[in-house]
């Protein structure tokens, strides 16, 4: 179905996009041909989402261009991308729940009848025709509320077609679908391709890529690795290209003889998030929770710390049960959580460095119930200095610091509580290499001092370099436990993606 002259419907040509000093995408090129489903794969943070946002008109490339039918285009807004025939279907569809399915499809370009009124019959006819073309049965008159995620995605696709989309970008559409629903979605995608559309398909599941796609582009660390026909690639080869990096000596994990079990998590479950999660962490041990984004790692540690509720299961620290859904109880038991999202969960950006660093301990620092700043200042200075935090004044809002120094304040805030169990969620996300190494050294020292450390990380080198044991999560369950010696990039990725334990 490719055009006879071989000009792709859409071409990504040598695009680069940076956020601050970090290049999210560097010099990536690949073509999308009419009639083809094209897979885009890479680890978390490889730059896939940035590519999607450029196609959607949310970001503009700093360098390079997008070519539609061979002509360069510059999208100033999502509306312009849509007008050029590019539609993006996100993992979580964004329909209006209280409007009918047909109204949702017609949204923004309602057919108008006499007297400028919306022609409801035409709206319904159009929806019915689209569903027929896609070969699915959804009642156009029913409200969008209550549709399954799979049906909502099909409505989104119908909406894209109604807007004359020729390029369909699907960002992990199958993450929340069951096997049957995936099959139905694939049938729809194949029908679209047969009609001459081009599809960009993003998924972490290799079996879906081999089943659906004709071509695959692999990205790593924002750079383009390869674009090849799927037929010529084996799954192990794809994994190797995705992760193939040199492990450097950034990770100074000291060898420690683990002591007694400090943290014991047993049968922890919450419907829709994670199920039957069981693990122990000994004093002096660093246990990593690895897995893809969305595999339930952060949800687990937040339930362990009590920020989130749990449906069942237990958490013990030093043999004593910890009351659920109470960060206070977790803190009293000796736990600390350095959360994933520094800006939303870790810090109060408008408050001063000093207030942030002492927030969990303001009760302990108060003399006779009062805080006049002295004790807080001494405490904040002690810990920020120990972590070599760079700041102008302890009274400055913490939001004025760089990402790395903000992270040090979060660490200071929790180390000041002298935890027996330190849980860190993505401890080095978005911070520079030097600070990264400091954070790693600090975690290693803490473990050597007998702290039980749980580390959630999406960076494989960090996981492999720091962890004594690696627990791999997939779809809310712990699917593999790998000792330091068994853990390799391949074995962790295979477990995370559901391809068996060994490459």
């Amino acid at each position: 179905m490719a055009r006879p002259d071989g000009v792709p419907l859409l071409e990504v040509s040598d695009v680069t996009k940076s956020f601050g000093a970090v290049a999210a995408v560097r010099g990536v090129s690949f073509p999308l041909h009419a009639g083809e489903a094209h897979a885009l794969v890479g680890e978390n943070g490889a730059g896939k989402s940035t590519i999607v946002k450029m196609l959607a008109g949310v970001h503009r490339p700093d360098r390079g261009a997008l070519l539609v039918d061979g002509d360069p285009v510059a999208f100033g807004s999502p509306g312009e991308a849509k007008a050029a025939g590019i539609a993006v279907i996100y993992q979580e569809p964004t329909l209006f729940p209280d409007l009918s399915v047909a109204e949702n499809i017609a949204m923004g370009r309602h057919p108008v009848g006499r007297f400028g009124m919306v022609d409801r019959a035409a709206v319904r006819r159009e929806a019915a025709a689209l569903f027929e073309r896609l070969g699915v049965r959804i009642d156009p008159a029913r409200p969008a509320r209550g549709l399954s995620i799979a049906d909502q995605q099909i409505v989104e696709i119908a909406k894209a077609l109604a807007g004359r989309a020729r390029v369909l970008v699907m960002d992990e559409p199958t993450a929340a679908l069951t096997g049957v629903e995936v099959e139905r979605l694939f049938a729809v995608v194949r029908a679209l391709c047969a009609d001459g559309a081009a599809v960009l398909f993003i998924s972490h599941r290799f079996e879906e890529i081999t089943a659906l796609c004709q071509r695959v582009t692999i990205m790593r660390d924002g750079a383009h690795v390869s674009t090849d026909p799927v037929a010529g690639l084996t799954v192990p080869e794809m994994v190797r290209r995705m992760v193939g990096r040199e492990l450097d000596a950034l990770f100074p994990k000291q060898d420690v003889d683990p002591g007694e079990v400090v943290l014991r998590v047993a049968g922890l479950s919450r419907a829709g998030a994670f199920a039957e999660v069981t693990f122990d962490v000994r004093a002096g041990e660093i246990v990593a929770l690895a897995g893809l984004v969305g595999s339930g790692r952060s949800e687990v540690v937040q339930a362990v710390f009590g920020v989130d509720k749990r449906d069942s299961g237990s958490v013990h620290v030093n043999g004593k049960a910890v009351r659920p859904a109470s960060p206070r109880a977790a803190m009293a038991a000796g736990m600390a959580l350095v959360p994933e999202d520094r800006r939303q969960q870790g810090l109060v950006m408008d408050l001063s460095i000093q207030r942030n660093a002492t927030l969990p301990r303001s009760g302990a620092l108060a003399g006779l119930g009062f805080l006049f700043g002295g004790a807080e200042r001494r405490e904040a200075r002690r810990w920020t200095e120990r972590l070599q935090t760079k700041y102008g004044d302890l009274g400055d809002p913490v939001g004025t610091l760089s990402g790395g120094n903000q992270q040090k304040v979060v660490l200071a805030k929790w180390l000041a509580t002298e935890p027996a169990v330190l849980i860190v969620d993505e401890p080095t996300r978005g911070i520079d290499v030097g600070t990264k190494a400091e954070v790693h050294r600090l975690m290693s020292e803490l473990a050597a001092d007998g702290v039980a450390v749980v580390m959630v990380s999406s960076e494989l080198p960090e996981v492999l370099g720091m962890a004594d044991r690696v627990l791999v999560m997939r779809e809310g369950r712990v699917v593999a436990e790998l000792a330091r010696a068994e853990a390799t990039e391949e074995s962790v990725m295979f477990a995370a993606m559901g391809q068996g334990a060994v490459a």
């Binding site: 939303q344 408008d350 108060a366 700043g373 200042r377």
Partner: protein
């Protein structure tokens, strides 16, 4: 002194205190009788209910919530006070009961906000109507007036019969307690953290729901106390006592530099806001401006106090953008 504490006194606080002083001086010079000690007593009694209710309201607004039911709580406690007095209960029993009633009414707000997770704006608009309606159920259109002189004269009188009103002493003590709690205790730290980023506060082990619940309870209790004082001052328990007072309180709090979006504010500024509002109203009343027209002043001040910080912020943002653009072109 840490710059943290210096920064707490913002340009807005300085401005509002300065404006308040200017208004006081102008009123003393230009308005007949404004400076008299008799009028000073009236001024204190006028601002007493606003100031009292503004104390917990400051906490509530800094946590990012609001309590609009306070004036109706005041009205309902006033009606209940009158009704209980008619039934012959001793005043010594009625007064604590009324404060307790206020606390219970506040707990109702707190429950809806923290347990059912409803927005406080909607909840307290609802209870604003509900509590006022209950007040009319309790007392109807009638008024109760024959309160014991020992109580009414304590409210209107001065310390030891002198020129310093008893009410002022009460207010100063409560304001000092509120100021200490807000600015120098772990509870105060939790209030600011919750208002600035509720999620981060929860992740830091702050029991956000518990905090908010007790703030609504205190807001109700203080409104109940204000209801008692209001009734005794005018020696009149009526269901419509204090109608519209919540607007004056919110205006004073926002005028005092508390952010309607939560997370920012300081008690000295709020007290200045209260004094400014009450002084303007008192002076205008001495100039024979009608009560209805005074509402215009409250309304304008409320809008100005929300508008100015926003204007300032967007002006700064625009300037910054322009500078950036200029820097890029050079």
């Amino acid at each position: 002194m840490s710059s943290d504490r210096l920064r707490r006194i913002s340009w807005w606080d300085v401005a509002i205190i300065a404006i308040t002083l200017v208004v006081l001086l102008v009123a003393a010079g230009a308005v007949d009788n404004f400076g008299s000690s008799r009028n000073f007593g009236f001024l204190v009694l006028d601002l007493l209910p606003i100031a009292l209710i503004a104390l917990p309201m400051t906490f509530v607004v800094i946590t990012g919530e609001i309590d609009l039911s306070v004036a109706s709580t005041l009205g309902l406690t006033s009606a209940v006070l009158g009704s209980l007095w008619n039934q012959g209960l001793p005043m010594e029993t009625i007064v604590p009961l009324c404060v307790l009633l206020g606390a219970v009414l506040g707990a109702v707000n707190g429950l809806f906000v923290t347990v059912f997770k409803l927005p406080s704006l909607a909840v307290t608009i609802g209870t604003l109507a509900l509590f006022r309606g209950l007040a009319f159920v309790v007392l109807g259109d009638s008024a109760v007036a024959d309160f014991p002189a020992a109580f009414t004269s304590w409210v209107t009188g001065g310390v030891g019969g002198g020129p310093i009103p008893n009410a002022l002493v009460l207010l100063v003590v409560l304001a000092a307690v509120a100021g200490l709690v807000l600015h120098a205790t772990p509870v105060g730290r939790a209030v600011f953290a919750t208002g600035a980023n509720e999620q981060a506060a929860r992740f830091s082990g702050i029991r956000v729901d518990k905090l908010k619940f007790w703030l609504f309870v205190s807001s109700g209790a203080v409104a109940g106390l204000a209801g008692v004082l209001w009734t005794l001052r005018y020696s009149s328990a009526r269901a419509d006592n204090g109608v519209g007072l919540e607007l004056a309180v919110v205006a004073a709090v926002l005028l005092g530099g508390v952010s309607i979006f939560g997370g920012k504010g300081a008690l000295p500024g709020v007290l200045a806001g209260v004094v400014l509002l009450a002084t303007l109203q008192n002076a205008l009343r001495l100039e024979d401006v009608t009560n209805e027209s005074l509402n215009i002043v409250t309304g304008v001040l409320l809008i100005v106090s929300v508008l100015l910080p926003n204007l300032g912020r967007s002006l700064r943002a625009t300037l910054r953008r322009r500078r950036l653009r200029a820097a890029r072109h050079t």
